[in-house]
């Protein structure tokens, strides 16, 4: 059997929408089989994963809480990936952003008058720190030609270890009975809740704003055109007078800044102090979200919600159905694989040629 790919002359918009939907359906189907193998009726699991998280006010808030950082980080990453640059160290930038912003909060802890400027200062510090941390792989690539894929990923481990050190060392709460955690932030250093008494905080509107802004920038500005041009054809982009180096730095700055902002929002919002772990792998999950959303900000928003729903659903399923949490992660990885596979539909006609003796055949 041989698989032939015939390039399509033009992309059809409805296939662009259909292909991720198809991939999602296939992933759910395979997930159902996996769940059945664990002895859980697929229907029940489907309810737990996809319906339960949407059925109550608190769980909807949880979904929004999870989706916000994912959408924010993935939107930043979309700039990188569209330009064919591979920042896969967003998790490290999240951590550094959270650490830097949290540090500001700890430094200002208990001081009088530090009410109005403290939160903006934290957000600024987090964003800048994430941005600066992303500049390391970007500069290494621009100046020395070092692969940004490997360096950005290596820096994730370094960031996590740095946070671990800080929380167990210099930033540990002296009155904290040796627990590896900082002091709790002052009220002024916490992101305000959107509704009093509820858990949803200002991180969600920030993410929403970022998605809107990114949509506008990518579609309507010369810079967005530059990003798309560099990604589609670096040679032609140079002909247009766009500088590779400048763009590399810019998109890494955007993605690092977004990740850093997501990190400090998480720390100042949900957690309220520094801990050895401040992100459940948002930086990595956001990579899935970015591709699942086909690197377009509105798609990313939708994808972030889908991933958040399955994550919350996975937590519920762990408790109610005794299904392991890793099932969710495997499902998300599979979903990304299928989305990438389905993407071929939008670019090629697929022809399956039966029979053995063909050139270029696949087994």
């Amino acid at each position: 059997m041989r698989l032939d790919l015939l390039p399509r002359a033009r992309r059809s918009p409805w296939l662009d929408l259909l292909s991720p939907a198809l991939a999602f359906a296939a992933a759910v189907l395979i997930g159902g089989l996996a769940v059945a193998a664990f002895g859980v009726p697929p229907g029940q699991a489907f309810l737990a994963y996809f319906v339960a998280p949407l059925s109550e006010a608190w769980s909807l808030q949880e979904v929004a809480l999870k989706a916000a950082p994912l959408a924010l980080i993935a939107t930043g990453l979309a700039f990188c990936y569209r330009a064919n640059l591979w920042n896969i160290g967003a998790e490290g930038q999240v951590v550094i952003g959270g650490l830097a912003g949290g540090w500001v909060a700890i430094a200002a802890h208990g001081s009088e008058g530090a009410t109005v400027w403290i939160l903006p200062a934290m957000l600024l510090a987090g964003t800048t720190a994430g941005l600066a941390y992303a500049m390391i792989p970007a500069l290494l690539r621009v100046k020395l030609g070092v692969s940004e894929i490997l360096t950005s990923l290596m820096l994730v481990y370094v960031a996590q270890l740095l946070l671990d050190y800080m929380v167990r060392g210099p930033l540990r709460d002296p009155q904290g009975y040796n627990f590896p955690q900082s002091v709790g932030f002052d009220e002024a250093a916490r992101l305000p809740a959107l509704m009093t008494g509820e858990s949803l905080h200002a991180g969600a509107p920030i993410a929403l704003l970022a998605v809107l802004l990114a949509t506008l920038v990518l579609a309507r500005t010369l810079f967005g055109f530059e990003v798309r041009a560099v990604g589609a054809s670096p040679r032609a982009a140079r002909f247009a007078g766009f500088s590779d180096a400048r763009l590399t730095l810019a998109v890494f700055a955007i993605s690092g800044g977004a990740a850093g902002l997501a990190g400090i929002c998480e720390v100042a919002g949900r957690i309220g102090q520094l801990q050895p772990e401040i992100s459940p792998g948002y930086g990595f999950t956001a990579i899935i979200v970015a591709f699942l959303g086909r690197l377009s900000p509105p798609g990313i928003l939708l994808a972030a919600l889908v991933i958040a729903v399955t994550t919350i659903g996975g937590e519920g399923a762990q408790i109610d159905l005794k299904l392991p949490l890793d099932l969710t992660r495997a499902f998300q990885g599979l979903l990304l694989c299928l989305v990438l596979g389905a993407d071929v539909l939008t670019r090629y006609h697929i022809r399956i040629v039966p029979g053995g003796a063909g050139g270029g055949a696949l087994p």
Partner: protein
Amino acid sequence: MDAAPAPPGPREGPTPLFGAYGIVKRFGDFTANDRIDLEIRAGEIHALLGENGAGKSTLMKILYGLLEPTEGVVTHQGDIVRLANPEAARALGIGMVFQHFSLCENLTVAENIALVMPAALTGRALAERIARLGQDYGLHLDPARPVWSLSAGERQRIEIVRCLLQDPKLVILDEPTSVLTPGEAEALFSVLERLRDEGRALLYISHRLDEVRRLCSRATILRAGRVVGSCNPRAETARSLAAMMVGTQVNEVQPRAARRAGAVRLVLDRLSLPAPGLHATPLRDISLSVAGGEILGIAGIAGNGQPELFDALSGESQAPVPEAVRLDGRPVGHLGINARRRLGAGFVPEERNGHAAIPQMSLSDNALLSRHATAPLSRFGLLRRARARELARRVIEAFDVRKAGPDPAAGTLSGGNLQKFVVGREILAEPGILVINQPTWGVDAAAAAQLRQAVLDLAGRGCAVVVISQDLDELFEIADSIAVLHDGLLSPPVPAGATSRAAVGLLMGGAEETGAEAGETPAAPARRALVQVP
């Protein structure tokens, strides 16, 4: 193809060595080959003539097993054969010399040849066979050299040796002289004639009519995917062959009425640039100057520094000193491409897809690509899409760009139409200086004539034009003066009327081939040869 019909009989004469009958090949909606019949006999050089896009390459790939025909059969000595892959074709005795060489740059000559040889034939045994065959046919190769270090002529030698080592009955040659100097082409012709005399069949694909008339005894002419005629090219004139190929009468380019000798607008002053990459050519001490209204033609074989020179002129690579490049007297060597555009320069690179245009993007986005800095297409960083569409529409109208849909992706246009778009995009800006690399490469004759006319008209309006081209006919048609780029060195330009194809051809092969006399500087014999050789 199991229940194939009985093999079609020969239409004339004895059973042909190879036959192709009723060949149809479709790619989606596009029909590249439409019911093509072709018969090839042993001991003949059979020409396959046609313009770019006529379907020659598709047919040739089908005969070599690279493409499967949608319909139709191929026969070998009257029996239907299935060419499932190139291996099968080679087993039947079909060999191929590719136009865009199928060589791996980073492998050695011997490794490239070993790829298609029986697995047992390696090392010294293979080197010996390469040497013996080289001796036999005058095709000398150093088996240990990496391919990237070789010239186009040497690369073609590898292709031919690789093909001949398999003792083929049919050799297919796709535009074999397009990268050769006239001298190298002569050597190739004698090899081909010898192969014919050995009783092999040759399928010679070309659009160069003088070559075909010299070498071939039969010709099949393709147009728009169909056979439109077959003839003995020796009994035809170049004109009648061209008429069959093109179908309509091609407009002759109108010469300009009067030449205005304007002020010097573009100057390169002893420009030297190191090679930008492992396999690139360094530019060495290049000087030229072009006045308004003048067209300077730069001849040369591919791989002698053309893209590097283009990049240096356009600002995609910058010169070490600002004075090395001057536009209207201003030093710009340190400026990027957009700064040079703002000073009134326009540029058309060789590669349409992925350099001059982005195939996935719409034509209006592609209008933005080179004009965003010079046309009012954005404000405060925000795009003004309507204006970009309007600009694209004007280019499309002015240059008669044929396309489907209102604002289609550039990649959906045919080569000629996309070339008209990317040239038109620059010409509509009325540049004071235009640098254009291979203006009509792979473009059909009608579009080529239109483009050349547009360039001539632009020069007539006072623009200084540099045309880099491998096509000598083109340069002699439009250029006022001609210089030759060889191995990163530029010969001094001479008036087109004071030189000849032969002289330019010699320089294209390297000035040293002209037989420099002792005591002369390397540039001096170049100039002498250019002017004096008849």
